[in-house]
């Protein structure tokens, strides 16, 4: 199985503090990979490094075997990686419909063209509407995205991320702050839209993680201490000591 994403010796310092302390991780093509770890472990920072938001202090990142280490976010996105944000990151003054449509434009090769009108492009608008249907926001399409309820904004965040049909999708805590039923909906949605694609996901909800993930990596204090199938990770002594143990006793998630 080929690797969709390879991180080789990735490090990140903020000033004197080392936040990511040498990460080597391979995400296989087509797998659903969850990254778990305690608050402040560096999960979001790792996402920012991979997606090009932060520059790397050291190390290399390969996307489908191609070095993308020094590229800008938009260049990495064009190579087939799309990500969502832990803190909702949408276009607040644009309508919900336009938010999704913006997520589609580059992927559908509209680029910066100024000789085509978005309103005459049937396929573009139908795709956008289909995605809105998929994420359950069809009846909200005319509202400015900024006025949506929190859970709706989270759904839109996912919608923008998946719109372009990127091969590699990275979701940073897609279910954070959602009710139980909302979480169920989002899990089903993620399962559907990542069918046949590669998913990397940061998630705190162990139910979601063990439900969705083919493999799990445990990030603690800037280092990956274990990677494996859910069963392997559950069985890992190091993980239990460093991380899952706490969950185990608190939430009865692991037995």
């Amino acid at each position: 199985m080929s690797a969709a994403l390879q991180m080789q010796g990735v490090r990140k310092n903020f000033g004197p503090t080392e936040i990511i302390r040498g990460i080597d991780l391979e995400i296989r093509s087509g797998e659903r990979h969850a990254i778990i770890g305690p608050n402040g472990a560096g999960k979001s920072t790792l996402f920012h490094l991979v997606s090009g938001k932060y520059s790397k202090t050291a190390g290399r990142i390969l996307l489908n075997g191609e070095d993308v280490t020094g590229l800008e976010p938009y260049q990495i996105n064009r190579k087939g990686l799309s990500r969502s944000f832990q803190i909702t990151n949408i276009f607040p003054r644009l309508s919900v419909f336009e938010n999704v449509r913006c997520g589609l434009l580059w992927a559908m090769e509209y680029r910066n063209s100024f000789w085509r009108l978005v309103d005459t492009e049937r396929e573009l608008n139908e795709r956008a509407a289909q995605i809105l249907d998929e994420i359950g926001l069809l009846d909200r399409c005319d509202l400015p995205a900024g006025v949506l309820a929190y859970a709706e904004q989270r759904a839109l965040e996912i919608g923008i991320t998946i719109a372009g049909g990127a091969e590699v999708i990275m979701l940073d805590e897609p279910t954070a702050g959602m009710s139980h039923s909302e979480t169920e909906g989002v899990v089903a949605l993620i399962r559907r839209v990542t069918e046949g694609r590669t998913l990397v996901m940061v998630e705190h909800d162990m139910g979601v993680v063990f439900d969705l993930a083919d493999r799990i990596s445990v990030l603690v204090y800037g280092e990956i201490i274990a990677t494996g199938t859910p069963e392997e990770v559950r069985a890992s002594r190091a993980v239990q000591e460093a991380y899952l143990g706490a969950v185990d006793s608190a939430g009865q998630e692991v037995n």
Partner: protein, 445 residues
Amino acid sequence: MSVNQSTTTGATADGVEPAWKRVADEQMRRGAFSRTLPVWGAAVVILMIMPLVFPSAVAVTIMNQMGISIVFALSYNMLLGQGGMLSFGHAVYFGLGGFLSVHVMNSVEYDGWWLPLPLLPLVGGLFGLAFAIPIGGFSTRRAGTVFAMISLGVGELVAACSIIFVAFFGGEEGVSGDRTMGPPVFGFEFLSEVEVYYLTAGVVLVAALFMYLFSRTPAGRMANAVRDNEERAEFVGYSQRYVRFVSFCASGFFAGMAGGLFAINYEILTEENLNLVTSGWVLLMAFIGGVGFFVGPIVGAIVLTLLQTVLSNHTELWQLYVGILFVLTVMYAPRGLTGLVAMHGPALRSGRLGPLVAAYGVALVPLVAFLAGAILLLEMGNVANQSVVGESEAHVFGLSLDVSTAPPWLVAAVLAVGGAYALARLAPRLRDAFGRATGAAGGAP
């Protein structure tokens, strides 16, 4: 629950049109250009008949100036309103487009270049674009303060050059030309102001049309997206810098076009046309009109041109009034004059405008009193301030007032203070009436 698990992404079995298809159709129908055709049609008619309604030479000159300002302000709003770029140096592209247009005009006259006059704005536009490309190349890297500061610096730089390079910019006198030396177009030689009016009107229409269309293209939509959230745009594949660059170039093109129109109308350009005053003026037009609306800059251009031409005939304080208008807009109506009108849309649609208008009517009396009082005070103050030169007669509203006596001051003060007090007392009631007229219409989800 808002995040449902609907799986109805395809057509439903019983042949009913799926909901998403209806939404897509609705979005396309609403954005369709054909829906705006009545507006464009009305614009054509209005532009056609204006010189018949206002045939005087002065009126035609004013309307020509409005046309130039409309194109200029619309081009400015491609930066500020649509792209989120606050420029303090937009006159650079207007002025350079204009100067080069005059030089081309002179080449038509003296070097035998062949160029029909209606094409000159296009030439001005291309020159505006030619300067926007290199300047936009480095200034659109960031928006916000960085962009604003660079635009200011470039504006200052070009203005300084215009004084230094006398051969090109003509020094204090500027550069003048003669528009009538080109080949006649369908027999028109553009000797009269009315001929120039129709040429200007045509260019305004075409330029406005293309600027509107630009806002509906992928490049235009992404300009809005980058304005809203430049970071997110990068994560859907767009370089914020390049998106801004495209808008910047388009904006420079249309500003140059306005400069070409200016060259045609006035047949002279001076250093004033590209300095920071002109850059500030176009900002005022766009902002007072309303940068959040496509028509906003048009409204602003019309209103400020009227103030500049008509009001300046009546008072030397006209710039002060424009300044006050600007400050009031920033403080109380940040969406501009167009926003003030647009916010009554919900009330109009729900048919509750009537009581609101009645409430406004009541407020009209103290408002007029306040304005009259304030204007009297300002005008009399201005005369009193100049009394060293022996003048004590203030001419306001057709009255002659002796500012060395107390009564006019008393009356003005009473009007201003009384009006302001009554307005302040009425304000809660107005707000109430507005809330009642609007609330129920838009509130129910």
